[in-house]
């Protein structure tokens, strides 16, 4: 088999898991300054699957593709600290305000610059929770897709075997390469950053970030230069990008504050639990 080429689509997101009361601004938009920017959690699950393939298949390479502002290059470094070979930052003001359609368009065009056998990404990002970008990329590239993946069982004769985690169980499917696989949060957690790789790649920079104090290192070690693409580097139509290319419009934003009155006290006995179960089934929370 020829050397396996894996691209992981990853996104830098605000950490919505630790939302404080200043998470939203008065105008209803996300206060990004108050939320730390992190590697989207399910994209880390996807990266782990990619790195396991790299360990299994000699010569396999793993590259990250991320779209975002200059600081999103941190995602590429974070992936390299864990074993990725490198990455591409897709960055341009023209991408600002993209919904899932415009995002998947830009990403699929950027993928046109690359060779790949497997495109891996997280099921969804925690800032939008749409789970649309992965499948849309597959559609735009005319590739098959395997969603909700929990484990890549193997690759044989140009086909990948994947275990999927579904609502009521699991299924194992086979799919020809190249393909898009979106990975579920129930897949194994990503490995930690590796001390040696952190020391090796900590000065890696995308050009937009500037070289910083260690400019000479970028010349000495070309692997420290992260590839950066703007609209001119990918073949695309301006009308399909950013706000122009995004049919999704935010109508209103509601600031929901959970209050104690919405809680309900149960009696700690079988009857109390029975009552709760019936109520949850009746309002379709479960069942």
């Amino acid at each position: 088999m020829k050397e396996l080429k894996i691209v992981v689509l990853a996104k830098q997101v605000p950490d919505t898991r630790n939302v404080g009361k200043d998470a939203m601004k008065a105008d209803g938009t996300v206060n990004r300054a108050a939320l730390p920017a992190i590697f989207n959690p399910e994209d880390l699950n996807a990266l782990e699957q990619a790195l396991r393939l790299k360990e299994t298949f000699k010569g396999a390479t793993v590259h990250i593709l991320t779209m975002g502002p200059g600081r999103a290059a941190e995602i590429i470094r974070e992936a390299m600290y864990r074993g990725a070979d490198g990455g591409y930052l897709l960055s341009d003001r023209a991408f600002a305000g993209s919904d899932t359609l415009a995002t998947s368009y830009a990403i699929s065009r950027a993928l046109g610059n690359l060779e790949y056998d497997i495109i891996l990404c997280g099921r969804q990002a925690i800032d939008g929770d749409t789970a649309q970008v992965g499948p849309q990329v597959a559609e735009k590239l005319g590739l098959p897709q395997v969603t909700y993946a929990e484990e890549i069982r193997g690759i044989e004769n140009g086909k990948i075997t994947v275990k999927r985690r579904l609502e009521r169980g699991v299924e194992v499917v086979e799919c020809p390469l190249p393909t898009v696989v979106t990975v579920n949060g129930s897949a194994p957690a990503c490995r930690p950053r590796n001390a040696r790789l952190v020391m090796k790649y900590k000065y890696a920079r995308a050009s937009q970030e500037g070289a910083g104090e260690r400019a000479e290192l970028l010349d000495q070690h070309p692997y420290l230069r992260l590839t950066e693409w703007n609209v001119n580097d990918i073949r695309c139509e301006a009308t399909e990008l950013g706000l122009n290319g995004s049919p999704t419009k935010v109508k209103t934003i509601e600031n929901v504050v959970f209050q104690a009155k919405e809680s309900k006290a149960l009696t700690a006995d079988d009857a109390g639990i029975d009552e709760l179960m019936k109520e949850l089934i009746a309002n379709h929370t479960i069942g």
Partner: protein, 580 residues
């Protein structure tokens, strides 16, 4: 979602000690490796940034993985299956994650897949690991064995064994036997040569992580000898067979760490270094490293215990307010914090001494040292030798005191197995026993008292340092304590035992009288030294004034008590103590 490095600024404070510039520059030999190794630092700032980043990775693993697994590991523990050790599942996961993160071989050179970290950040890592799980800290900390191989084995052995530690293999230090514990001269495990190969036969007991892939084994290579000069050090590779685990002990604490009884039957091994130097040279080196490790383990446990006590005291409401507002509780917590800070200060002071002398030692293998460098090597080696037992004594006893007080703050809840403090109390209890009991640390440290080394360091170094005005009283107290210490040392060392009747031999010797008061004298030196170290810390950071002041007042009372006891003591009193 916890990071044990970033949530504890005390560690970074010690990482940024002014002496680090010299240590790092020596360790990296003037930063001349940057072009040969892409992970080598370019300068001091680059190196410090590396340590910071790597400790940050470790801190996250400690908070998110090790601490989370600690309770299950404590309950499940390891098992013996068919003569081999099976770790608890959490132990296995901890080890795998730390291997993936590249956090073994931390202090070894890069050519052996090491990180080439100085001892200071390595000891910090040990502290972090132990705060999360002290039992696992034992397994992780055995990478110390690699230091000994690095120092004394042949180049060929080094390149064969050392990289394996970075690839997931672990170490053991096989010293103790049923009849050779504190007294290692009595080791009986036999090493005999057959067809040019060494074979090991015998039993080892209480061996931490005994089923490791690579072990350093102390064995009797010289037939017919009875003392330490007949012992040599061997490297045993488990892959060669011949060793089985007979049982593992059921311990009070550090349950996740398998303590093994090993049987060697014609187990092939390789000589490490020279014959007959096993105990007198290599074990001494191994032991100093291990004692530093236990010091770090003790400080890690103390940190965890202090935090548990503080948290409980803030949350627990009695008589209408959080119990931390009662003097009995806040005094306890303040003393715990002061002892914790003090133990940590002497831990890193000792680590810095070790760093400097080790760096010069390695440098001396590459080129002849200048006269000044040779002097520095000797001076720092002596300091390391005298500070290591002092550190181990104080850190381990404080870990116990802090854990004890923390449990007390928990009241009845602390006695239940529902809170982490019960595990910390059990785990702390090993620290003043293993790698030399506190009593043995006193034996090692007393020479620092009788030769005047501690006093010299206090008078010539610490008393010359500038301290913040807010601590003028504390400084005065330390001066008084030092005078009392000096008088007590003189009283004990010059006492002439009286004969029971005229003309008869005295019932005790002068040496026995010094031994009798040794712990008191060593402790007095310790209180003064730690007090000075905390004063120095406060001169770098004002927020440290209060714990320094609290410690000195606490230590002053202890020194006064010891001084009073010694003043009232006579050599002939010992007779009464012997009647047990």
């Amino acid at each position: 979602m916890a990071n044990f490095y970033t949530d504890n600024t005390d560690i970074k404070f010690h990482l940024e000690h002014p002496l680090m510039r010299e240590i790092v520059t020596l360790k990296e030999d003037g930063f001349r490796h940057a072009d040969a190794h892409d992970t080598a630092p370019r300068d001091f700032e680059d190196a410090m940034d590396n340590y910071d980043k790597v400790l940050e990775i470790l801190g996250e693993i400690c908070g998110d993985t090790l601490a989370e697994n600690a309770e299950d590991i404590d309950t499940e523990g390891p098992r013996v299956v068919d003569g081999r050790v099976e770790y608890a599942p959490g132990t296995r996961r901890n080890h795998d994650v730390l291997t993936q993160a590249g956090l073994y071989n931390m202090s070894l050179p890069r050519e052996y897949e090491g990180l080439n970290f100085p001892i200071v950040p390595y000891v910090m890592a040990a502290e972090l690991v132990s705060r999360a799980d002290a039992g696992f800290g034992n397994i992780w900390g055995l990478q110390d064995c690699a230091e000994t191989i690095h120092e004394f084995a042949s180049d060929e052995q080094k390149s064969r064994y050392l990289p394996r530690g970075a690839r997931g293999e672990t170490y053991a230090m096989d010293l103790t036997e049923p009849d050779a514990g504190s007294d290692l001269q009595a080791v009986q495990l036999k090493a005999t040569q057959k067809d040019g190969r060494w074979l090991l036969n015998g039993v080892k007991r209480f061996i931490t992580n005994g089923d490791a892939q690579i072990a350093l084994v102390l064995a009797r290579s010289e037939e017919g000898t009875q003392d330490g000069r007949g012992l040599s050090m061997f490297i045993y590779d488990r892959a060669n067979g011949g060793m089985t685990v007979r049982r593992i002990e059921n311990k009070l604490g550090i349950k996740g760490s398998p303590t093994c009884e090993l049987v060697f039957k014609d187990a092939p091994a390789e000589l490490c270094g020279d014959r007959k130097l096993g105990l007198i040279k290599y074990v001494m080196s191994l032991m100093n490293g291990a004692r530093l490790g236990v010091g770090a383990q003790a400080v890690g446990i103390a940190e965890a215990a202090y935090r548990e006590g503080l948290k409980y005291a803030r949350e627990r409401v009695q008589f209408g307010k959080p119990i931390i507002e009662f003097p009995a509780i806040y005094e306890m917590l303040a003393n715990m914090q002061a002892k914790l800070r003090g133990a940590r200060s002497i831990l890193y002071e000792t680590s810095r001494f070790v760093d400097i002398y080790k760096a010069y030692t390695h440098l001396s293998n590459e080129r002849p040292l200048e006269r000044e460098e040779r002097d520095a090597l000797k001076r720092y080696q002596k300091l390391a030798d005298f500070y290591t037992p002092l550190l181990k004594l104080f850190a381990s006893e404080y870990a116990n005191e802090i854990a004890y007080d923390s449990l007390q703050i928990h009241g009845g809840s602390g006695y239940m197995k529902d809170y982490p403090i019960q595990r910390l109390v059990r785990d702390a209890r090993i620290t003043n026993i293993s790698e030399g009991t506190s009593q043995l640390q006193v034996v090692a440290a007393i020479r620092g008292v009788t030769t005047g080394h501690y006093l010299k360091q206090i008078r010539e170094v610490y008393e010359q340092a500038v301290t913040p005005p807010a601590l003028a009283t504390a400084r005065q107290l330390l001066a008084t304590m030092t005078d009392e210490y000096e008088a007590a040392v003189a009283a004990v060392t010059t006492a002439v035992p009286a004969a029971p009747t005229a003309g008869a031999a005295p019932a005790v010797t002068s040496a026995e009288y010094v031994d009798f008061h040794a712990r008191r004298l060593v402790e007095m030196a310790g209180y003064i030294i730690i007090g000075h170290l905390l004063l120095q810390d406060a001169s770098r950071d004002e927020a440290r004034v209060a714990p320094a002041d609290i410690f000195v007042k606490y230590g002053r009372a202890k020194v006064a008590a010891h001084a009073a006891f010694i003043r009232d003591s006579r050599p002939e009193d010992l007779e009464a103590y012997k009647k047990n």
